[in-house]
Symmetry: C2
Subunit: 564 residues, 2 copies
């Protein structure tokens, strides 16, 4: 279809516009991910939610550490977990695909996999993972670590063995077509990307910048997480500052890389958003780890025979045989501090809890470190002759007073750096619009910022009073089946609720600041129907996961072509 | 002040209006609750949140069962818990006041205590309650069951021993003054009340009806909860219907009582709202109960000496000495089913989860039972010559399709009952407006209903993306101290965010249905500043907890007097 459209244009049978309009943007999805061979006749062993498209086969592995080890050794693996957490991130990098038995389309596994363009089947409830025995029960069958399975992220099916897949391809004709689309569209298409690798992928898909870089993803790499945990466990501001001082050069160098890859296009960096407990293990995990450590202390004391290495806490220095009781006690003490902190940080509704700018106000030194890293990276790039356009973005804002407080830090650091640097720093300061109150207060917020970015995942949750994870697991399917809701509002922007608040915010924001740059960085930003809405209400850009960028580019052009 | 105002009017020194305007409505609070003797010099032993006003002294009791037993025996007791849950409700009835070590001003303890007009200190974090040892640690001191303490719900202070309190009084002059207020005000003042007792109290305070009856509160009494749990544990619709058939006559008789007390004024009954897991013990509690039962089985088998009676699960038939192993096994089986259900119902953000009308759509037979109970009670009252005005209210609505589904049930049952009864049934059908989407869709919703009632607690949570419990415990105090927010939006209605959505909904709702009755039943409904707002935007009524009704009556009159 893509090919014939471009051919027909070249033969002057149709116009460029007609060539573009012939293609349904959603159909590009098939071209951009590997898919299961349609000739397959093997029956699935389990079904979950189609959480990230694509198909992949590999050996089951039940923890991220082993996944990383085998992946680095060149094995194709599928990470199989009950649910994933930020500390599993190295397992994602190593895996071909991700399978979880709990969580919805917004679960950690689903969102991270989509961002990386890897297939994911989430919430496959028939699968019971037993990490300790290194196996998973699937109905009556048993899946052992090392058994090969195939995931189809487009349907949510899980197959035994390696089913042949058809490779994705990005033909020349598609590049031509999308080049035309970019010329026509009013909306720019940016990508959500958190690492230089993801940014490079986004570039290949034609992203015109990064609309959302989630800095917390940078905190999760295995060399950083221990520092982040030290920061969280800190009892005093001084202790916290020590940990932040260690994070600063790491974040700065991340930003230098990211800005360089995207140069000269904008990179929008969101300051820390998730609640702190997301960086810590769960209470249950900690209780188990403490129990294991206590047992292991008996081994070290010679009272008991050694445990299997799978049960050993990863924090203990290796090799295990050299461990002294002191090592174990130290690890125990740390775990107990973590447990205390986890209980302290516990929240009834974490989605509506101590997160976003609320964290930045409570711990200004965290935001200060991040802002400094962004600005210093800007200087460093400039010194290397790399032209960059960073944007600093504040999450979860409800009132302009919050922005004013963060802006004081930005202004102070800018002044200091510009003095040393001898030149003006070029960057933008902006805010997420993801609470309902931010929409009603948009004219006040616009006085403090140069751009808005709608976080439509959170905004949808707030407008519907639906927790996405709970809704998709419990009642949203029923609402769709009985016709109460036509679509999943987390996939297709809800024009009558969320859309009205977006229109309100656009109108009020631009009334204060006519040239306000306004975009959307929620997941709906990659969906053609939602893109048509974004075009209609006059947004400046949409931002979506890298692999959806081509779909968004075509949809943005079609929205423009269809408006007449 | 109240007395001199009325005197001055009678001496013709001031007008009625001037007499009313001389009194700050908030000052009435002092008159309406007992307060601590200002001469007290005893130092507090702990401090929590002032969660429900008033002062009370009594013996500490650490569980609701014992509280009920001692309370019924005429002892003055204070219920002391880590946090309270619906199944503690009988302990509230028996207690003079409630003290918890966890939870905010919207915690179960706080809301229930306020509704009952009993003092409550919530989230007194220095107190560590040990139910098993029957004591509480307060810093270095120990509070044993039976020790006398005094709570001051106005300040959040907890004192050792019995501190003298000054009784509340409702002087004749105040009644006169409030009578004038009622004549002047446009806004009617209703009460939130869930039981005939609470309704009687509300009547004494001058409530003009019940604006919010939370039916789930009726489910929590100790004779009903086991039936509700059977309903939740039901695996089939038939099993669930069996439990509902047992609940129907109980709910019907509740409504007959409630309607009779308030006759002929309206009683607005909200259909089931909270997520089902709120009726079950927590996972942790169940794990402990199962452990206790297993140990107890050993006692029954004669393998172990008897446990203290305090540790015995309340579900076992008494006296314990007659128990057979079979009894224990049966109880165990039930607990294990409950544990399975609790895990199944677990939610990440219960505030945004499977609750309200989402439950009514998933389990239509539950709403059908409640609607039938309301309508049959209406018939029964009519047959007794009691004039009643029931109103059926649907919670958590986001779209008119939900209302349409519930209305089908209402219409079917009405038709059937009217046929038997031979007369038209007089009642209203309406919806809570407590999601943001309900505000944007108000013109569509109004087509299906005769009244709106703003649930401003939930609406505030949605507009701010604040979970009240988490916010008040974690960051709201900081936001107030640093001036980011002037008020606690859960106490004083946020005019710039929540208020704008209310205005939108009022305008859109009345555009569809000019005579739409519109009220507010969130906690802000009892606060003078919020009442001024409600008057200004043209609401028909406010509804607040019984003890705040006099304050609201005066505030409603003052709002009218000040509008010129």
């Amino acid at each position: 279809m893509v090919k014939t459209s471009v051919d027909m244009f070249e033969e002057k049978l149709i116009s460029r516009d007609q060539a573009l309009l012939r293609i349904d943007p959603e159909l590009l999805e098939q071209l951009l991910h590997p898919s299961l061979d349609p000739a397959n006749t093997v029956a699935p062993i389990a079904t979950g939610l189609p959480a990230s498209p694509g198909a992949a086969a590999g050996k089951c592995v039940f923890d991220a550490d082993l996944a990383e080890k085998l992946g680095n050794a060149g094995e194709k693996i599928i990470l199989v977990r009950e649910e994933t957490r930020p500390e599993d991130i190295h397992g994602f990098f190593a895996a071909e695909g991700i399978l979880t038995s709990r969580g919805g389309k917004t679960s950690h596994a689903a969102v991270v996999a989509r961002g990386m363009g890897k297939p994911c089947v989430a919430g496959a409830e028939g699968i019971v993972v037993d990490v300790h025995l290194r196996l998973a029960h699937v109905g009556d069958a048993v899946l052992r670590e090392g058994d090969v399975i195939t995931l189809d992220g487009a349907t949510g099916m899980v197959y035994p063995g390696a089913i042949p897949t058809i490779k994705a391809h990005f033909p020349e004709e598609l590049k031509t077509l999308l080049g035309w689309a970019d010329e026509i569209a009013d909306l720019k298409v940016m990508a959500n990307a958190d690492t230089p690798d993801a940014a490079r992928v986004a570039r290949e898909y034609g992203a015109m910048g990064i609309g959302l870089c989630r800095t917390e993803r940078m905190f999760n790499a295995s060399d950083r997480l221990p520092i982040v945990i030290d920061m969280i466990l800190a009892d005093t501001e001084e202790e916290r500052q020590l940990a932040l001082d260690r994070l600063l050069p790491i974040q700065r160098s991340d930003f230098v890389d990211l800005f360089s890859v995207m140069s000269p296009d904008p990179v929008t960096v969101r300051l820390l958003d998730p609640p702190m407990h997301e960086f810590l293990p769960t209470e249950q995990q900690l209780l188990e780890q403490i129990e294991t450590l206590r047992l292991y202390r008996n081994v070290v004391r010679g009272r008991q025979t050694a445990l299997s290495s799978f049960d050993l806490p990863t924090e203990l220095p290796k090799p295990f045989d050299d461990l002294s009781e002191e090592h174990v006690n130290e690890a125990l003490l740390k775990k107990e501090r973590m447990l205390k902190k986890v209980r302290e940080l516990q929240e009834v509704n974490p989605m509506l809890g101590h997160r976003g700018v609320r964290l930045g106000i409570a711990y200004p030194e965290i935001y200060a470190m991040q802002i400094r890293a962004i600005l210093e990276a800007t200087v460093e790039c400039a010194n290397q002759g790399i032209s960059v356009t960073p944007e600093i973005m504040v999450p979860q804002v409800i009132t302009s007073q919050e922005l004013a407080k963060v802006k004081v830090t930005v202004d102070e650091l800018t002044e200091k750096l510009e003095k040393d640097f001898g030149k003006k720093l070029k960057f933008k300061f902006g805010t997420m619009i993801e609470t309902v109150r931010a929409c009603t207060r948009a004219s006040q917020l616009a006085a403090n910022v140069e751009f808005f970015s709608f976080g439509t995942n959170d905004l949808t949750q707030a407008v519907f009073s639906f927790s996405r994870e709970d809704a998709e697991n419990k009642f949203l399917p029923m609402y769709n089946e009985t016709g109460i809701l036509q679509d999943n509002p987390f996939e297709v922007l809800d024009v009558y609720g969320v859309g009205q608040l977006i229109e309100m915010a656009v109108e009020r924001g631009r009334a204060t600041r006519k040239d306000l740059k306004i975009g959307i960085c929620g997941e709906q930003g990659g969906h053609p129907e939602s893109i048509r809405f974004c075009h209609r209400v006059g947004l400046s850009y949409v931002s979506c996961s890298g692999p959806r960028v081509p779909i968004a580019r075509l949809a943005a052009a079609n929205a423009k072509l269809l408006e007449a």
